[in-house]
């Protein structure tokens, strides 16, 4: 049974669907956690404390990294196969088909923007928080405590270029999820003509919720830094 997940097109797609679903659930958790920073720096730092270099947080981080890796590696494999299947001679003329979303045809490119944003995010936060703790340090490169997440947010989003880059990243994530969320139901076989409009509506709601939730923290802290 295990092998159809690698050697069958439908199996490989199921891996994309399930790993994508896992990443969306993680994003929903992360977004809810971030919102605490808007209410209280102490509350946010308490959550950061729970998720420091504890064994469960490290195990969670490892599973999450594996999820991202699987989703990325499969995306590359699928795209290479798809380009080969398309053939070497391309159409001289193409049009955008009716009812086909732009995002659905550009998932890999959008995915690369998301991945770039993730790299920036790991540099901005993870390398200054959990990584410092794993290495046994008590202050990060900015001279802050690695568990003082609230101070790190305040510092990062007081710089306009990080604010701009994070908003671009979140916009790319929005596009990626408007297709990805309903698409994972379709791949798992859990869709029909009645449910397509509903699933697409749910996808738009989840994508927008995540965008607004994440962007709120970025924008609010930027505005606070100006005042």
């Amino acid at each position: 049974m295990g092998c159809f997940l690698t050697n069958s097109s439908l199996g490989r797609k199921l891996v994309m669907s399930v790993s994508g679903c896992f990443l969306v659930l993680f994003l929903l958790f992360h977004m809810s956690m971030n919102l605490a920073a808007l209410v209280s720096a102490d509350a946010y730092n308490m959550i950061c404390g729970f998720l420091g270099a504890n064994w469960y947080a490290l195990a969670g981080t490892a599973v999450l990294a594996a999820g991202v890796l699987v989703h990325f590696v499969y995306a590359i494999i699928l795209t290479v196969q798809n380009r080969r299947a398309r053939g070497s001679v391309r159409y001289a003329m193409t049009v955008q088909e009716k009812g086909v979303d732009w995002a659905s045809k550009n998932m890999l490119a959008i995915g690369f923007v998301v991945l770039g944003g993730l790299a920036l995010h790991l540099f901005n936060f993870w390398s200054k928080m959990q990584l410092v703790e794993i290495m046994g340090g008590h202050t990060n490169s900015l001279g802050m405590s690695p568990v003082d997440g609230a101070a790190l947010i305040e510092y990062t989003f007081s710089q306009w270029y990080y604010v701009a880059l994070y908003l671009v990243w979140l916009a790319a994530l929005w596009f990626h999820l408007t297709h990805g969320v309903w698409s994972m139901f379709q791949t798992a076989g859990w869709a029909n003509d009645t449910w397509y409009p509903r699933l697409k509506c749910i996808a738009n709601i989840i994508a927008t919720l995540l965008f607004v939730g994440f962007a709120a923290v970025v924008v609010v802290f930027f505005i606070k830094s100006l005042c």
Partner: protein, 247 residues
Amino acid sequence: MKFTLKIWRQKDAKAKGGFQTYTVDNISPDTSFLEMLDILNNDLVHKGEEPVAFDHDCREGICGMCSLHIDGRAHGPGTAATTCQIYMRKFEDGATITIEPWRSAAFPVIKDLVVNRSAYDQILQAGGFVSVRTNSVPDGNAIPIPKADADESMDAAACVGCGACAATCKNGSAMLFVAARVSSLAKLPQGRVEGARRAKAMVAKMDELGFGNCTNTGACQAECPKAISIAHIARLNREFLAAKFED
């Protein structure tokens, strides 16, 4: 009406092809697209030139033989119509029309606008059938089938196997074709019994022939001349995954 045609010409499967430009004049707006190509070929034959090779048969939208990628769209500027159902009144007088063969690695060009679509036949041979003895036509309603199931089965069975789905798909995926075949049989009691075996065999053959992986863009259903829904792809996914998890 007068048209400039940019047509893909390719001597044979191995030759390198390219576009050639032709002009056709005095075309009635009620000429079908294929008749317009017949008129062009007539002119070419009179001039002693090689006529343009293109596939066609019934010319009433039911055989699935005509193909052609016209102005960037499989089967041209119609909705739920094959190339033979397109009339020249759909185009502006004096327009330049680009005509290409299906582009998909699994559909190699044989000559000019003709491609080899036998890959679809091979997928069908892998499992797109019922292996019970059907004998003569049974009495109507001898096997009770809910109307909704019969309707869905018939919607899927409308597939003519023209290849527009794989030709349109940016991934060269044959999923809509395979899904239509699996779905039309899966919804009927006669086909249900072999459902699991059929889904696995047809998907395996589709992968083996080098078709791509579906990414749910929905471009196939937008260009399908029979307007077959990607809901059938969801059913194929269900059939296949259920069969695999049962193994």
